[in-house]
């Protein structure tokens, strides 16, 4: 044993790391392979028998894991975009262009002291951020990211969404009340009042859409908007879309409706007494909420994962690579070489300062880019989920940018102006939208039934 300990002491730090990790990884791999070999067969049978549950578990895990990088990205985007609007630079030290700053913020938040204030109700205090976060994230279950890429295709998907989003109020109230602090209480009550008031125009504004689509299933709503962008529901329900977007801003507690976290009035509202990861949870939940509200806007009104244009023709790419035989190997060997030379030649000819090997390197890089581009194009055309997720993310981030843009530009409203606006303006407008839509449907149906 002393030999081992003496040998261990003589290692450098990296030596110690290697000698710990490598045996551990080997053991894990061997163990996993053995487990699969032994249990694999029965395990696969069990999985195959319960495929829906497995699918659900995988989808839920993927969604939960996805929320964290999304939140990081949105936080970074907010810092950079608002900085540019403020004629500043924003983060630019940590990572290229400061992109790792939100990751570092996440780590920092994990390392902060985690305390409970005197007099606070510890159970409620601990569970409040969890409730808020879960309420936001559970709604992601029904959002279709691409054809086939959704958690569950509930036929009451929209209703489920609003129900889950409404659970967040409970978390806000829990946080505000249990903090044993008047600022938190005020903030929590304001937040609850705001979210509850704006839920009504939010849900009413999409009822017209439900009437038009005939279904509450989000997947079906997206499928209804396939084709050109003029098929998107925003052109059939413009008022509904507008009301929805404004109410969504209020639901997500974003400027101009961010008085619950107005740091110039009540320090941090319901989150005043929170620090460390609990505070991190609240703000993760908020940024994920921004993403979710944008995603829902896109799903309902802007075509979801559909491209703005209908792909005009069927691709007949039915090349079977195996049929080429030996020619495939020659192709894979020769084509990159030819492309490298082809891309290198113009650079070498054009400038006498670029030497041969430099031109070849440039050519190689360009070849790689070209091949990746070709693969991407093939994936886009052939695999519908690639195109779907691409367009979905693009459209969603346009709306996330709009949220961030509003934060950088607009001041915030007062609580009484906010409630005023919800009850006296948005609610009647949503009702108007609903009646007009319903009336139009009745009229159009009646016209259609008149025999010509």
């Amino acid at each position: 044993m002393t030999v081992i300990s003496r040998g261990w002491d003589r290692l450098t730090l990296s030596g110690k790391v290697i000698f710990t990790l490598v045996p551990l990884l080997l053991a894990l791999t061997v163990g996993l392979v053995a487990a699969i070999a032994v249990l694999g067969g029965p395990l696969l049978d069990v999985l195959a028998a319960n495929l829906p549950i497995v699918r659900f578990a995988v989808a839920a895990t993927a969604i939960l894991l996805m929320t964290i990088p999304t939140a990081f990205l949105i936080i970074y985007m907010e810092m950079k975009v608002i900085a540019q609007m403020n004629l500043r630079i924003g983060p630019d030290r940590v990572g290229p262009f400061g992109s790792l700053l939100s990751v570092v913020h996440g780590l920092k938040v994990l390392m902060k002291e985690d305390f409970t204030p005197t007099g606070a109700d510890s159970t409620v205090f601990t569970w409040a951020p969890v409730v808020v976060y879960l309420a936001s994230v559970m709604t992601l279950l029904v959002i279709p990211f691409a054809p086939g890429l959704y958690g569950q295709d509930l036929n009451i998907g929209l209703l489920y969404f609003f129900a889950m989003a409404g659970l967040g109020v409970v978390g806000l109230l829990m946080g505000g009340w249990s903090s044993y602090n008047k600022y938190s209480l005020l903030g929590g009550l304001r937040a609850a009042a705001q979210v509850v008031s704006y839920e009504i125009p939010l849900t009413l504004s999409v009822v017209g859409l439900i009437l038009l689509a005939g279904t509450m299933s989000l997947n079906q709503i997206v499928l209804n908007q396939a084709g050109w962008f003029t098929d998107w529901y925003v052109f059939q329900q413009p008022l509904g879309a507008l009301i929805f977007f404004i109410a969504a801003t209020a639901e997500a507690n974003r400027t101009p409706f961010d008085l619950t976290e107005a740091d110039s009035e009540i320090v941090a509202g319901f989150a005043t007494e929170y620090s460390g990861m609990r505070f991190g949870f609240f703000f993760f939940a908020e940024y994920v909420n921004v993403f979710i509200m944008s995603a829902l806007t896109v799903t309902l009104f802007f075509g979801g994962w559909n491209a703005p244009f209908a792909w005009p023709f069927e691709t007949g790419l039915t090349i079977d690579p195996g049929s080429l035989g030996i020619g495939l190997i020659l192709l894979i060997a020769i084509v990159p070489v030819i492309l490298t030379l082809a891309f290198a030649a113009p650079f070498w000819i054009a400038s006498s300062r670029i030497k041969g090997w430099q031109a070849l390197i440039i050519g190689f890089v360009l070849t790689n880019l070209f091949i990746v581009g070709l693969l991407g194009a093939w994936a886009y055309v052939e695999l519908d989920w690639v195109a779907g997720i691409l367009w979905f993310m693009l459209k969603t981030y346009v709306f996330v940018f709009t949220f961030v843009w509003m934060r950088g530009t607009l001041p915030r409203v007062r609580i009484d102006q906010l409630m005023d606006f919800a009850w006296k303006w948005l609610l009647p407008a949503a009702l108007l939208n609903l009646f007009v839509t319903a009336g139009a449907i009745v009229v159009l149906n009646a016209i259609d039934r008149v025999p010509t």
Binding site: G119, A262, D263, S264, P411, R412, I415
Partner: protein, 416 residues
């Protein structure tokens, strides 16, 4: 200090007692909360009136550490839900005893002592004492020095109003205007740094003149900035003036009428926004202001929006004044002939200047020695802060800061 979560329901029979950390804070466990209440019994009528809670009211403390009070100011708000019923500002967190320090300082030293009072507009805080001492010494300031004083003073006024614009928007939630107005302010502050040597607490005026003459760097920066100033200011203002949310929050807020304003001893833009065209530069002209041509903007509504728009109008007038100063600048010395050790005749003098916040004045008493006998500084923000309690009742918490910001207080001056 306390036992952590002691949540037993046994009745607590502890009498209200002073907290160990701060004897001014009474802890009343029976209430179950830690309330900031003053020691019983209340010492004055107003204290009794304020610290008595009626049904449904509560105190909330916007403490000295707060993201948005303008400096270290503690405001105790009495709330009925979200409505503010009354408020009591508690001062003294930034009190530096400047008046006492000036009594032990030479007349020249006083200038650097008073700089940090209204640190945003230091030149005005230097101007009033310097004028008072010049009266005591019967010194005639050269004309070129007067023109330079007016020029740098108006630049300081513009930078102070730009800062006001930014803070006002920040308190209402807009993150962008403060950074845009800081571009303005940065350029002006750099200009004044090339003139006076300092970016903020300038220490530039001297008894009998100014410290340094205009130099090439200053003039080139000034010319450069003047050519762009109007559009920069307009773009900054354009973000706010037509913003529906901003205007709706400020209109009708914190209204004060003319009689109440005069009773509260308002001066400066706060008074002019209520309709009284009182400007010390016109009512009691000093320096070379009689030779300059400028208007006194006045508005009649007396609410936050009027105060904000009025300060923006004053910005434009300051630009006119600077323009005229540049054109009419005479040659000559920048400092009168003064002895090294100043011993004014025994007497009293009062000098007031129109600062960006109002009438900034000094009452100086001299007893023939080389130190002032009494150096009384009258700061406008101090007087204006009293009026917040008058304007607030009926409004919401969120408006407290908007109203305070619209009065443009600077805690350095309030606390001296």
């Amino acid at each position: 200090m306390t036992t952590p979560t002691d949540r037993s329901d046994a009745p607590r029979h502890e009498a209200p007692h002073a907290s160990q950390d701060d004897p001014r804070v009474m802890l009343d466990r029976d209430l179950g909360v830690f309330e900031p209440v003053p020691p019983y019994p209340p010492r004055t009528e107003r204290e009794a009136e304020f610290y008595t809670l009626r049904d449904g009211e509560m105190f909330i403390n916007m403490g000295p550490q707060h993201p948005s009070t303008h400096g270290v100011l503690r405001v105790v708000l009495k709330l009925d839900g979200e409505k503010v019923v009354d408020l009591d500002p508690v001062l003294g967190y930034l009190h530096r005893g400047v008046e006492k320090l000036c009594e032990n300082a030479d007349y020249h030293h006083v200038i650097s002592q008073v700089d940090p009072l209204e640190y945003v507009s230091s030149l005005f805080t230097e101007w009033a004492p310097v004028m008072a001492f010049e009266q005591l010494l019967d010194v005639q300031v050269p004309r070129r020095a007067e023109y330079i004083r007016v020029l740098s003073g108006e630049l300081n006024r513009i930078s102070s109003h730009a800062l006001f614009l930014g803070w006002m928007a920040l308190d209402l939630g807009g993150l962008t205007p403060i950074l845009w107005s800081f571009i303005e302010r940065d350029e002006i502050v750099e200009m004044l740094a090339s003139l006076t040597g300092q970016r903020m607490l300038f220490n530039y005026f001297r008894i009998g003149g100014v410290n340094g003459d205009l130099n090439h760097d200053f003039m080139s920066r000034l010319g450069d900035w003047m050519s762009r100033a109007t559009e920069q200011i307009d773009s900054g203002m354009g973000l706010l003036n037509e913003n529906e949310i901003f205007v709706r929050r400020m209109r009708g807020l914190g209204t004060i009428d003319t009689k109440a304003a005069l009773r509260m001893c308002f001066s400066g833009p706060n008074l002019r926004a209520t309709g009284v065209p009182f400007d010390v530069r016109r009512a009691h002209p000093y320096s070379i202001y009689p030779e300059l041509d400028f208007d006194i903007p006045t508005r009649t509504e007396g609410d936050c929006l009027a105060r904000y728009l009025l300060r923006m109008d004053e910005l434009k007038q300051s630009l006119r004044i600077i323009d005229q100063c540049l054109h009419q600048m005479p040659d000559g010395p920048i400092m009168a002939k003064m002895p090294r050790l100043l011993r004014p005749r025994p007497g009293r003098a009062y000098a007031a200047v129109e600062g960006p916040r109002g009438q900034y004045a000094t009452y100086a008493m001299s007893d023939g020695t080389h130190q002032p006998f009494r150096m009384r500084i009258h700061d406008p923000s101090f007087v204006h802060l009293q009026a917040v309690g008058l304007m607030m009742p009926g409004h919401l918490i969120a408006d407290t800061l908007a109203v305070m910001a619209s009065l443009d207080p600077i805690m350095g001056g309030i606390d001296k």
